[in-house]
Symmetry: C2
Subunit: 301 residues, 2 copies
């Protein structure tokens, strides 16, 4: 078994009501792979510029994350994102996006990554996601993320991709946009009818919903008092989820997916407790499992 993520490595500048950080390590592949590293040894495909420092690489490789699919573009600059969170910490405005080397990136899998069994197609155009998928020989589990931009501008490409996925991850407003259904339960079922075997609707601080052929499963977010920076929560959730799935030897089934969702929820709850990867850097597997047990008790009656 082996877990692959294709996504971004970035410099994030984040303003929250309490504090601001500049050019912190971010990106979907970064958060995903670090979160997954508590469960397995993820492989990353992505692109950075010459400005991407060695210390960031070392931080990831120290977690046994395989960066051999990360290309450094000569003379290029790394993708940059700048955003500002509102007072409620659940909504944000994007202030700046500099795609830089990501703008022309055409992901190419190293030969030895082509046997990956579990694949996360982080948010990217559905065309790029499809081209990645073609390079994987025989994936067991493909999960993709998407966003409103692609629903609005590349709907046909997205609709072509959906039947090729095991799971699609999207947020509540994106599910409504994609299906025209306001009710999230209906929206989730409607997305599933577009092709993916299961659908996960992310609701930020309100948790997530899983839709499978067996029905709906709801998970609240783990309640935390210390929401410092929500950036990366969704990708950490996906990393915890797919990492748990990949490392779990039991037969896949809805129970399997539910436990993985709980792991994703718990890992994401740590991510938001500090900026960038700062909380995950202080985290170990025991703390994850302890919180998972608290979460399980919290949900039982």
């Amino acid at each position: 078994m082996s877990l692959l993520v294709v996504g971004s490595l970035a410099f994030d500048s984040v303003e929250t009501p309490a504090r601001t950080v500049e050019n912190a390590l971010g990106g979907s592949a970064t958060f995903f792979s670090y979160a997954a590293s508590f469960f397995t040894q993820p492989r990353v495909v992505g692109v950075v510029g010459e400005d991407f420092p060695d210390e960031h690489r070392q931080l990831l490789t120290a977690r046994k994350i395989d960066l051999s699919g990360v290309v450094t573009e000569k003379g290029g600059r790394t993708f940059r994102w700048k955003g500002r969170y509102h007072q409620d910490m659940n909504t944000r405005d994007t202030l700046e996006v500099h795609l830089n080397v990501l703008g022309t990136f055409n992901p190419k899998l190293p030969e030895r990554f082509r046997d990956s069994t579990h694949v996360f197609l982080a948010n990217s155009s559905p065309g790029v996601q499809a081209r990645v998928l073609e390079q994987v020989r025989k994936p067991k589990m493909v999960l993709a993320d998407t966003m409103d931009l692609w629903i609005n501008t590349q709907r046909d490409e997205l609709l072509t991709l959906l039947p090729r996925l095991d799971g699609l991850l999207l947020n509540d407003s994106e599910a409504q946009l994609l299906t025209g259904e306001k009710n999230l339960v209906r929206a989730g079922h409607a997305v599933r009818r577009l092709g993916p075997k299961f659908v996960i609707i992310k609701k930020g601080e309100h948790g997530a919903m899983l839709f499978t052929g067996d029905g709906v499963f709801v998970v609240p977010a783990f309640p935390t008092e210390d929401v410092v920076d929500p950036t990366g929560a969704g990708d950490s959730f996906a990393g915890g989820l797919l990492g748990a799935l990949e490392s779990d030897a039991t037969t896949p089934g809805q129970g399997h997916l539910r436990r993985a969702m709980a792991y994703g929820t718990v890992v994401a709850s740590f991510t938001v407790e500090d900026f960038s990867l700062d909380r995950l850097k202080r985290l170990d597997r025991r703390e994850i499992d302890d919180r998972l047990e608290r979460y399980r008790k919290m949900l039982s009656f």
Copy 2:
């Protein structure tokens, strides 16, 4: 053991994106007592006008709800509320409020209601809620609802009431307004420090959070595709919760409250599936327990 609710009986006119009803039976005491009637035989104190029809009374008394504390004011008209739900069905505008007989109502408990063990003080001014409480001899469990209006206009009276309560029920924005805390976990703990033994923050379609001395417990709403009319969901939740608590012979504790929250969630999920009491009228205890089991499975991993 005996359960008392002091609250409103009303005519509700409701506009939703799909449909409209006029002058349907509503009111906090109505929804609360009907929801609680699946667990126990609630007592109601309230006021109506001469326009309140016998068929509404009969609907409630057929459920063994004791209406002997409901006063009919001569020449008076029953409280009327008119509201319009937005497309998301989770937010609404109040279009009209006619307090009518409710405007001057000073609740007086029939002598034989004064031994009630479980009391729900439905939304009303904290002064009125306190005067009701003084008439109950030795309550075991007092739960109160409140709203932004009282937080803004009668904060001192509310702060005086809070230490006398076992539980306070309020919604997310009200908890933020009362405490100045944006983070709901902090807000819930802060409300509890104002006096009540436990606090429940209602989040509409996103469920509820319980705060006790033992920590936080989160419950998602039961996911339903058929949200026809959310009116009465909060009071049905309270009715299911307090009805389950009153009828449960086990020692009170956090587990007890959690199970009661789950019952409240499930009963409320039925209420929103039709206008007024229409769904609850078609409901029986077996259906409640079946959905509770589905809900329990949905939350386990």
